[in-house]
Every structure is written in structure tokens, then in C-alpha cells.
């Protein structure tokens, strides 16, 4: 029973990812812009020299990248190479491969977003749980509404607001970048401290932007657990408040939060897209926006593909771990 469910779920995941990847393959091709021609024209504009045989050069590069073949053929070729784990080469930063580009940018995004997602989850869930706990002081209960309002404001706006007040007015933190310009990434203590200093504002932005989401979710669940018999029974048994709160109240209300956490990890890259451009942070989001501006097909496909993969896999994981977390849910039927 269990296995057939897993199999069906896996097939569905593959179909969804394949459809999404197909969609992503064809959309950038709607643009009439030839990225290779644009690249050469940009070079020509900056050097003042336009090679006379430009069209031959472009044609030879198109042959090299396989862009001269008919689109369906390109699609089949690309899908084949993705199956082999090869995401192709970047048209703009050739001979760098897309795998290399992603490898350079991904650690930045993962570092920033993993840390902030965990902090946000813990703090937000704690606030939400306390806010729904009937014995909490009034000011704790009132905390959720402002946090929800904060969560509604786009992270880019919050980021600019923080840059304005903290980096520009107070001038105590750097405005943009992930490290001081002129430095090369290395593992010395000074460099790591510099990175941490640059990461404060982006992290704070993400925490402020998403904490309300967790608080709202947890408060909603807390309210449903409130009147449950087991909570009342634990109280009437005379258990200490702390124990009732943690072992009976929070533990039973936290399940949906855990699944949301798995989904949030799947959405890390798209969350990165929101803030990275504002802070000039060298992560996946910045790489993607640069690639879109230059029509760098294979980079767009590559980043799009790993994003979809992350979301799809996290959805699958949620489905599979849920019965383990909550014994009431079983996939025996249907």
C-alpha cells in the first residue's frame, strides 16, 4: 500500500517537474533577441571596433552552442543533457558552465536563507504559540497583528527601508554586497567577520519579512488546540504550566508548522530572488536576474530547473513525512 503510494507520488513529481521545465524552456525563446549578437554588439560598443564578419562569428558560436538547430531538436538535446546532470554552458560567461555558475552563487543564497529561515521559524513559532496561549500577558497577544502587517510588505521595500535608516542615516553597516569590494573570498577570520557584517541587513530583512507568517500559522493552530480535552485534563491534573505549554499545547499544534518549514526550504531560492537584488548579494537570485537581462538561456533554464526541483522535492518530502509525524494520517486508502 505504502509503496504504491510512494511510486504514484514519484511519477507525479517527475511529470510536474518535466512539464514545468518544458514551460521554462520555451518562454525565453519567445524573445526575438539573439543573446550572442547582443553580446558582440556590447563588446563593439565598448571597444569601438565592429568586426566585419560579425555574422559569420555569430553563426559559428550558434553552431557551437547548438542554437542553430531547430527548436524541438534543441529541446530534446537539452533535456537529454539535463538527465546526465549537465546544465550546459553560460552564453555570457563562456566557457563557464551553468553548473559552475550555480556552484559559485548557491552557497551564498543557501547560507543566508538557511540561517534566516531557521531563526524566523523558531522565533515566529514561539511568538505565535505564546500569543494563542490564554494565560499570556496582553502585550504578547497583541504582537501578532503588527508582525502580519510587516509580512505583507514586500521584502524589497523592507530591505530598502533598513538600508535607508541603518546603512545610510546611521552609517553603521555596509549598504550592499556580501563582502568589501576588492577582497577575494577566503577563509581568514577578518573575511568571515566582514561577510557576517554584510549579512546582517539582508538577514534582518528576511526575518522581519517572514516572521509574521510563522506567528500567524502557529497562533491559528494554537487556537484549535486550546479547548482540547487533553490540554484541559493536563491542567486539571495539576501539571506545571510550563509542561502543559510545551508537552501538551505546543507539541500538538506544531505539526503544520513543521510541514511549512519543509516547504519554506524548498522555496529558498525564490525568496533569495526577492532580496538579493536590493542588497547586491552575489547569490542565485542575482545570477538569475543578470541572466534574464542578457537572455542567457542555459543559465535561466539551469536556475529555473533547480528551483522547481527544490520545490517539488520539498512537497514530496512533506507528503511522506506527514504520516510519520502525525499518526492520524495514513495513506492506506486511495
Amino acid at each position: 500500500m505504502k509503496l504504491s503510494y510512494l511510486f504514484r507520488r514519484l511519477v507525479f513529481l517527475v511529470i510536474v517537474i518535466w512539464t514545468a521545465a518544458t514551460l521554462l524552456f520555451f518562454i525565453p525563446r519567445l524573445s526575438p533577441v539573439n543573446p550572442i549578437r547582443e553580446r558582440f554588439l556590447a563588446i563593439a560598443r565598448s571597444t569601438g571596433y565592429l568586426p566585419t564578419d560579425l555574422n559569420t562569428i555569430i553563426a559559428s558560436f550558434e553552431t557551437k552552442f547548438g542554437l542553430d538547430k531547430p527548436l524541438p531538436q534543441q529541446y530534446v538535446d537539452y533535456m537529454r543533457s539535463v538527465l546526465r546532470g549537465d546544465l550546459g554552458v553560460s552564453l555570457m560567461s563562456y566557457p563557464k558552465t551553468v553548473n559552475q555558475l550555480i556552484g559559485e552563487a548557491l552557497p551564498w543564497t543557501l547560507g543566508l536563507l538557511t540561517v534566516t529561515t531557521i531563526i524566523t521559524f523558531l522565533v515566529g513559532t514561539a511568538i505565535g504559540a505564546l500569543a494563542s496561549w490564554p494565560k499570556s500577558p496582553q502585550w504578547v497577544k497583541g504582537m501578532v497583528t503588527p508582525l502580519i502587517v510587516l509580512a505583507a510588505i514586500p521584502p524589497q521595500v523592507l530591505g530598502l527601508l533598513l538600508i535607508y535608516f541603518v546603512a545610510f542615516k546611521l552609517n553603521i553597516l555596509p549598504m550592499t554586497g556580501a563582502f568589501d569590494p576588492g577582497d577575494l573570498p577566503n577563509l581568514s577570520i577578518t573575511f568571515i567577520l566582514d561577510v557576517a557584517r554584510h549579512a546582517i541587513l539582508p538577514s534582518l530583512t528576511l526575518v522581519l519579512a517572514y516572521i509574521g507568517f510563522w506567528a500567524l500559522g502557529m497562533r491559528g493552530m494554537g487556537v484549535t488546540v486550546q479547548g482540547e480535552d487533553y490540554v484541559l485534563f493536563a491542567e486539571h491534573k495539576g501539571l506545571p504550566q510550563n509542561r502543559v505549554f510545551y508537552a501538551y499545547y505546543v507539541r500538538n499544534a506544531i505539526l503544520p508548522q513543521v510541514t511549512s518549514l519543509a516547504l519554506a526550504f524548498g522555496g529558498i531560492i525564490s525568496a533569495g530572488v526577492l532580496v538579493e537584488s536590493v542588497f547586491g548579494f552575489p547569490g542565485i537570485g542575482s545570477t538569475l536576474t543578470a541572466a534574464i537581462a542578457a537572455n542567457d538561456y542555459f543559465v535561466i533554464y539551469g536556475i529555473g530547473f533547480i528551483t522547481i526541483l527544490a520545490v517539488g522535492v520539498s512537497m514530496l518530502v512533506v507528503d511522506l513525512i506527514y504520516p510519520l509525524l502525525d499518526p492520524r494520517i495514513r495513506y492506506d486508502r486511495k
Binding site: 502587517v149 524589497q156 526577492l274 537584488s277 517539488g312
Partner: protein, 301 residues
């Protein structure tokens, strides 16, 4: 014989207006949200009557880079736009994009959701599958890629923005409406209606729609927020209407010209404040409406 015209029943107790006011005092989120929204609407409506936004909000209208002062209340930007006019126009344009995309999203969502939920079958399977795929692709990334294919940014208008944003705005409403219709379909009043010989269309419009209405009104505010959020996400990357002074484009130009680095703080501060006000007001209204439409989530405080 003359029929006695029944006199209009006398309303006992407080008038309608007092009741609304009393409710707003209890539902503070809704009251504050509506107040901010009223302020924004008044600011832009009165503003467009007083200020000639048609010229002043566009480049080369006034002296560039003037700080806020007596002549230019909010200052001017590098390209010679008067920022007061830009704010007035920007709030209207940004709001219009949201209204257009939000309306399309909810309308398409209601139609598709009803058809999928009520009639089921192949159409339902296709709808479910398409929405499932679209939910797997983060919508902003998809929108950025779509908007990136538009070559000439000068030809992008606010209608283009609304169009691009609506491309995905229907996905959420479709799923939610479908789920609602599925549960309502099983309810007793629909069974009774079916037994009494009502047709499908009659059931949809007379039984289901009225029950769904408060829910739709509440989710429309969410749609509005989502649409403004999405279009702003595109604009701040420079994928918006290059010629129009929407709030997002104003922020984009300010960042593009390193306004903060160059100490031109007024250029970037006003549009940010306007964005914060818009989202604060809409999310407070959303919270307040949630309480009206869904009494079960009445606040625990």
C-alpha cells in the same frame, strides 16, 4: 377596495451608520486599514486635481535634484520629475495595476474553480494538473522570465504589467474556489435544491454564489495585494513600464541612480513610504475582513 400599503417598518435602535461605526471600533484592524486607504485615495484624487501630474510627473518638467522645500514640497529627481506629482500619479498607477490584475485573477478563478468543482470530470483533472504545475514554479521567477522576453521596455505600459501579472493571478483563486465548491456541493441545501428540480446554473447562481460572496470579497483584497506585490517585484528589477512613474519604477530609478549613495534621500524615501502605507492598509483590511467573512477566526485577544 383599497389595499393598505404596508408602512415601512420602523427601525428600532441605532441607525445603520452608528452600527457600522460601533463595529469598526471593535474591529480595529479594519478601521485603521480603511483610514489609511481613505488617506491614500484622498491624497491621489485631490492631488491630481491640484497638481498637473500629466506633465510634472514626467522627465524634464522641473529643475533636477531639488531637495524638499517651499517650491517642491517633496523635492525633484535627477530626470526633472516633481516627486509630489510622481507620488500622486504613482499611487494611482500602482493601484490600477493591482485592481486590473486582481479583478482578472478573481474572475477567472471563480469561473474555472466553479466549473472544475461543480462539474468535475476531465475538466477538473486538467485544471488540477495545470495549477499543480504552476504552483511548483515560484510565480515571481516565472513572471520575471516572462517579462524578460519583452524587448522594448519603453513600450511596456501599466496594461502590460497588469496583463503579465494576471497570467498567474488566477491560480490561487481557482484552487481555493474549487475546494470551497467541492465542500458546498455536498451540503444539504444543495441536495434539497437538486431534489426540488433546480438546474445546475440555477444552483450555482442562487445557492452557491451568495454563500461564496463574503469569502470572495475577502480574497479580493488578498488578490489586490498579490498583484501589487508581483508587479512591484518586476518593476524593482527594471522589468516595469519604463515611461510610467509607478511607485515601483520610481524606486527602481532611484536605486539605479544610487540615490542613497549620492545623498538624494528624498527620491527613494517617499515611494518607499507610499508602498509601506499601501501594504499596511491592505493587510489590515484583509485581517479585518477575515473576521467579518469567517467568524470562526474571531480574534482570541
Amino acid at each position: 377596495m383599497e389595499l393598505a400599503v404596508p408602512s415601512k417598518p420602523q427601525r428600532l435602535g441605532p441607525s445603520h451608520r452608528t452600527l457600522v461605526l460601533r463595529y469598526l471600533r471593535r474591529n480595529k484592524s479594519l478601521a485603521v486599514g480603511l483610514a489609511i486607504l481613505m488617506f491614500l485615495i484622498l491624497f491621489s484624487v485631490v492631488g491630481s486635481m491640484v497638481v498637473d501630474t500629466g506633465t510634472l510627473a514626467y522627465p524634464l518638467a522641473v529643475a533636477p535634484l531639488q531637495p524638499p522645500g517651499a517650491q517642491y514640497l517633496l523635492g525633484t529627481d535627477k530626470d526633472g520629475r516633481d516627486l509630489l506629482a510622481v507620488m500622486i500619479r504613482g499611487i494611482i498607477l500602482t493601484g490600477s495595476i493591482g485592481l486590473m490584475a486582481g479583478t482578472v485573477g478573481i474572475t477567472v478563478g471563480v469561473v474555472l474553480g466553479f466549473m472544475a468543482g461543480f462539474f468535475g470530470g476531465l475538466f477538473d483533472t486538467i485544471t488540477r494538473w495545470v495549477t499543480e504545475v504552476l504552483l511548483t514554479i515560484p510565480s515571481l521567477i516565472l513572471l520575471i522570465i516572462i517579462a524578460g522576453t519583452i524587448v522594448d521596455k519603453n513600450q511596456v505600459t501599466i496594461f502590460t504589467m497588469a496583463g503579465v501579472t494576471s497570467l498567474l493571478a488566477w491560480v490561487g483563486p481557482t484552487r481555493v474556489v474549487r475546494a470551497q465548491v467541492l465542500t458546498m456541493k455536498e451540503s444539504t441545501y444543495v441536495s434539497v435544491a437538486k431534489l426540488s428540480g433546480m438546474g445546475s446554473m440555477e444552483i450555482i447562481f442562487k445557492e452557491l454564489m451568495p454563500n461564496l460572496l463574503p469569502f470572495l470579497v475577502a480574497s479580493f483584497v488578498g488578490q489586490l495585494m498579490g498583484a501589487i506585490y508581483a508587479s512591484f517585484g518586476l518593476e524593482i528589477l527594471g522589468l516595469g513600464p519604463a515611461r510610467e512613474p509607478t511607485l515601483g519604477m520610481t524606486i527602481y530609478w532611484a536605486v539605479f541612480n544610487s540615490a542613497m549613495f549620492n545623498q538624494w534621500w528624498w527620491w527613494i524615501l517617499w515611494p518607499i513610504v507610499a508602498m509601506v502605507l499601501i501594504f499596511t492598509s491592505l493587510s489590515l483590511i484583509n485581517l479585518g475582513l477575515d473576521e467579518v467573512a469567517n467568524p470562526r477566526v474571531r480574534r482570541t485577544e
